[in-house]
């Protein structure tokens, strides 16, 4: 044993951690050493076991075997309270904030300081002031969470995690919902924390973030750690290879688009949410056969609502949508079934909430939306054999693994779930394809496959409307790009003119002088 480094005991040391869920071995002999005061990245595809490992570190799960040391001491975490007691804080991918409470009330949660709130309130205010001074984490204590932009909400999460003096901060996919500008601010905060001796554990699948901010990185694949690297001594290509186990094409090669007739035309579209908030205002654009029209923007700026309006899932107040020559207005709406019957396919942004019924088997999902078709039954009855045959066909054509139609949708990995949705929606050879976040939570290997499929559809004459929060995806696939901010369009660019910085500025709501705003 090397005890000579005792003055530099690692902040966290894991030795041979194992964790199984039934027959699934989520973590296999994971050993990890995180130096105190460093920023340590953990990368891996979805399902590689990153989340399980973090849940073990944060006391949500108990490892089946193995040792865990925090600051040189062997520990056994049985709950997140144990982790907090050891100075470990965590910022979850999905925020754990009470959205109708103020910043102060959220930060105070768990440290109210007795039955009366006055004392806790005072202490929390002092904490907020201290953190603002030390790390530049300014927030308005009285602002209600629901009114805050996503980046600020995340800052509140970080404040919650470190308010009690946490020395180890775990962040799970922190930049998924941030603009490039907000992500940069986050990294500044992390650097400030590091200067103060806080250890940061950053879980992500974005290699450029790893390269930009971490000191060391560990790569996970199939529940195992397949490599530790000093960030300075590695490259994105090497990390990608370690993650996937083979060489990956990080960008797709796409030919020139051959746009022809306008198939989808949106003009003057306006829409309010059920809570009365204006979510879309005066949106106008068109998409031609044989082109990919990308919509860039931070999640939650109206893209979701736009896709839902076009798919017939959401009513709108003003304007019109013209699909294949048929006009839809607020007074003459169409149902999702009618729109699907026009050979307009929709790959929804959130496959768990919309695209799939996770508790159905794959074959049940393979006909979702098409279950009334004559192909899958006659009269009132479904023909199980025909449904299974169809599912098998989709699975083999789109490389869905495992190719078992009887397997429940929730048992597939994210990438294979998405491939199943894409297979179902593209199998009808649609004239218009509406796509939201086609590769969210999908592993690198599957991203490549999905991108190729979208381009093949484009080249076959499909008009594709693509929404994605990944700028690289929008830039890599789209022929024209519209940027949205707060329900408005900030302008439409040719993808040749659209650089990351220019799009990033427009995404932040700053008008671009080079393009007309609408």
């Amino acid at each position: 044993m090397q005890v000579d480094q005792s003055n530099a005991a690692p902040a966290i040391e894991l030795i041979d951690i194992r964790k199984s869920f039934g027959p699934v071995r989520a973590n296999r002999d994971v050993s990890l050493r995180v130096e105190a005061g460093s920023i340590h990245g953990i990368v891996g595809e979805n399902g590689a076991g990153k989340s399980t490992l973090m849940n073990i570190l944060y006391g949500h799960y108990l490892a089946d075997s193995g040792e865990m040391h925090v600051a040189g001491q062997r520990v056994s975490l049985r709950s997140s309270a144990d982790a907090i007691g050891l100075g470990i804080g965590m910022v979850h991918q999905h925020f754990m904030l009470v959205s109708n409470m103020t910043v102060l009330e959220n930060v105070m949660l768990g440290s109210e300081g007795g039955p009366l709130l006055a004392a806790g309130r005072r202490d929390t205010l002092a904490t907020l002031r201290r953190l603002a001074d030390d790390y530049g984490m300014e927030v308005d204590a009285d602002a209600v969470i629901a009114d805050l932009p996503v980046g600020t909400r995340q800052r509140v999460e970080i404040i919650k995690a470190i308010k009690g003096g946490a020395r180890i901060l775990i962040l799970d996919e922190p930049t998924g919902v941030l603009t490039p500008g907000e992500a940069d601010q986050l990294f500044e905060v992390l650097k400030a924390l590091k200067r103060d001796g806080v250890t940061v554990l950053l879980i992500t699948h974005k290699l450029d973030e790893i390269m930009a901010i971490t000191d060391a990185v560990s790569v996970m694949r199939h529940g195992e750690i397949v490599g530790h690297r000093r960030t300075a001594e590695t490259s994105p290509a090497e990390l990608a290879r370690l993650m996937v186990g083979r060489d990956v094409l990080l960008s797709v090669d796409r030919g020139q688009a051959q746009p022809s007739d306008i198939l989808l035309e949106v003009s003057g579209l306006a829409c309010t949410s059920s809570r009365g908030r204006q979510v879309l205002s005066d949106i106008s654009f068109d998409v031609r056969s044989g082109e990919i029209f990308g919509i860039a923007g931070v999640s939650g700026n109206g893209q979701t609502e736009l896709l839902e309006v076009i798919a017939g899932m959401r009513s709108f107040e003003a304007g019109s949508v013209r699909l294949l020559g048929e006009t839809i207005t607020p007074d003459a709406p169409k149902t999702p079934a009618q729109i699907r019957d026009m050979r307009i396919a929709h790959i929804p942004e959130d496959r768990h909430q919309f695209g799939l019924i996770l508790s159905f088997d794959a074959s049940g999902n393979a006909i979702l939306g098409y279950h009334q078709s004559d192909e899958y039954g006659s009269g009132y009855f479904l023909d199980e054999a025909a449904v299974t045959t169809h599912c098998n066909k989709l699975m083999s054509a789109h490389d869905v693994r495992p190719d078992n139609p009887a397997l429940l949708a929730k048992k597939f990995s994210g990438g294979n779930q998405q491939k199943l949705v894409i297979a179902r929606e593209t199998d009808t050879n649609p004239k218009i394809l509406i796509v939201g976040q086609p590769t969210r939570g999908v592993d690198v290997g599957a991203i490549e496959f999905i991108h190729k499929q979208l381009l093949a559809l484009r080249d076959a004459g499909c008009a594709i409307l693509l929404v994605s929060a990944e700028l690289d995806e929008i830039i890599g696939l789209s022929d024209r790009i519209m940027v949205m901010n707060d329900g408005r369009q900030m302008g439409i660019l040719d993808s040749a003119d659209a650089g990351r910085d220019r799009l990033g500025t427009m995404m932040a709501g700053i008008a671009d002088t080079g393009v007309a705003a609408s």
Partner: protein
């Protein structure tokens, strides 16, 4: 706390209900012991009373019939993730439908016409009583639990008003209708079997039992073999995805509640057409609520519902025998025992789920060297 591994389906469907039943019987055994009786003897009496004595099986299956219908009433709606606790009211109103047809037609039409029409009316009246709360839920957002409870009260009030008023048998003081003519009486199974020269003891068991078995089969076909069944399950499992898929979610909810109500309404065919031969006050006597426990215990599956109904039928019949045989075990104690089984199989149905899942996972996964802090 580590989440338990998923429970295999066979264990969820067979092992878990058996464990629940065993625990319930153990607790009941302690109660019987505390009363100074021998639990082993008591359970023997119950089993004999439910299955062995002449005619007892008929009684058990007669109770079973009621439970199948009310269990289905909960299960159909549950497939659409709707909690229908209005089985009681729907059955009650179903009895009104059956009774009206029988009172009106039986004196002038043959049994082959009256009985099918009365059965249809029972289903239709029950369906309407389920459909209205379904509509209020689907289109107006009124919570189904609240409305179905309210509809139980409304049904009860309407029936009291009718049975003590317009429909009360002339010249009578008690609140029930006149007796149906012979054509309005559901044929008894022992009569039919005796006619075929089988020697079967008399019991209230009637043709409704076969109708209940057909309803179980129909439920299976509807939910797992038809397009509308697919839509019901889709709405139940993920209403957002159902909307995305172009399914008319509110309409499917209304439909599911109507079918639920029809199932409950059919209970009246057993009780009113089969046994009472008149509409009487409170003939539903809690079967509608027991349907919740039946559906829960039967995991909303036809086979499960059948066995859960059989168990409850046996408890009803065997319980009566227990009351008869033992001085110290009164009607109330029998109710208590039934309550224990509802408690363990219904309300606490998943209490042993996580421990059982862990145990099975430990047995099925290859044992690993015991290391670490676990």
């Amino acid at each position: 706390m580590t989440p338990a591994p998923p429970l295999p389906r066979w264990a969820d469907v067979f092992v878990l209900p058996l464990i629940n039943l065993t625990v319930a019987l153990l607790v009941c055994g302690l109660i019987v012991l505390a009363l100074g009786e021998n639990p082993i003897v008591a359970i023997q009496v119950m089993i004999k009373g439910a299955f062995v004595y002449p005619g007892s099986l008929g009684y058990t299956l007669y109770y079973t019939t009621n439970f199948i219908f009310t269990g289905l009433a909960v299960a159909v709606a549950a497939q659409a993730m709707m909690f229908n606790i209005g089985g009681e009211g729907q059955a009650y109103i179903g009895g009104l439908g059956a009774g009206l047809v029988a009172l009106w037609l039986a004196p002038m039409a043959p049994v082959v016409l009256v009985i099918p029409l009365a059965v249809l009316a029972a289903a239709l009246f029950g369906a309407v009583w389920g459909l209205v709360p379904g509509y209020l839920q689907a289109y107006r957002g009124s919570h189904i639990v609240i409305t179905t409870i309210m509809f139980n009260f409304i049904a009860s009030a309407i029936m009291v008003w009718l049975l003590a008023g317009t429909l009360m048998q002339p010249g009578q003081q008690s609140p029930h209708t006149a007796q149906f003519a012979a054509a309005g009486q559901m044929p008894k199974l022992h009569d039919m079997l005796n006619a075929l020269s089988f020697n079967v003891a008399a019991s209230p068991l009637n043709l409704s039992f076969l109708l209940a078995l057909a309803a179980l089969f129909g439920f299976w076909v509807l939910i797992w073999k038809t397009r509308i069944g697919y839509e019901i399950r889709a709405v139940g499992q993920n209403p957002k995805a159902a909307h995305y898929a172009g399914i008319n979610v509110p309409m499917v909810i209304v439909f599911a509640l109507a079918v639920s109500g029809a199932c409950a309404g059919l209970m009246a065919t057993n009780e009113i057409l089969g046994v009472q031969h008149r509409v009487v006050l409170n003939f539903t006597s809690g079967y509608g609520f027991a349907g919740i426990a039946i559906a829960l215990m039967g995991r909303n599956h036809p086979v499960g519902i059948f066995f859960a109904s059989l168990l409850f039928g046996a408890l009803y019949q065997g319980g009566a025998e227990l009351d008869f045989e033992f001085q110290s075990i009164t009607r109330e104690i029998v109710l208590l025992i039934q309550g224990m089984i509802v408690l363990f199989s219904g309300a606490l149905a998943y209490m042993f789920s996580a421990p059982l899942a862990r145990l099975l996972a430990r047995l099925t996964v290859r044992p690993k060297p015991a290391a670490g802090e676990a």
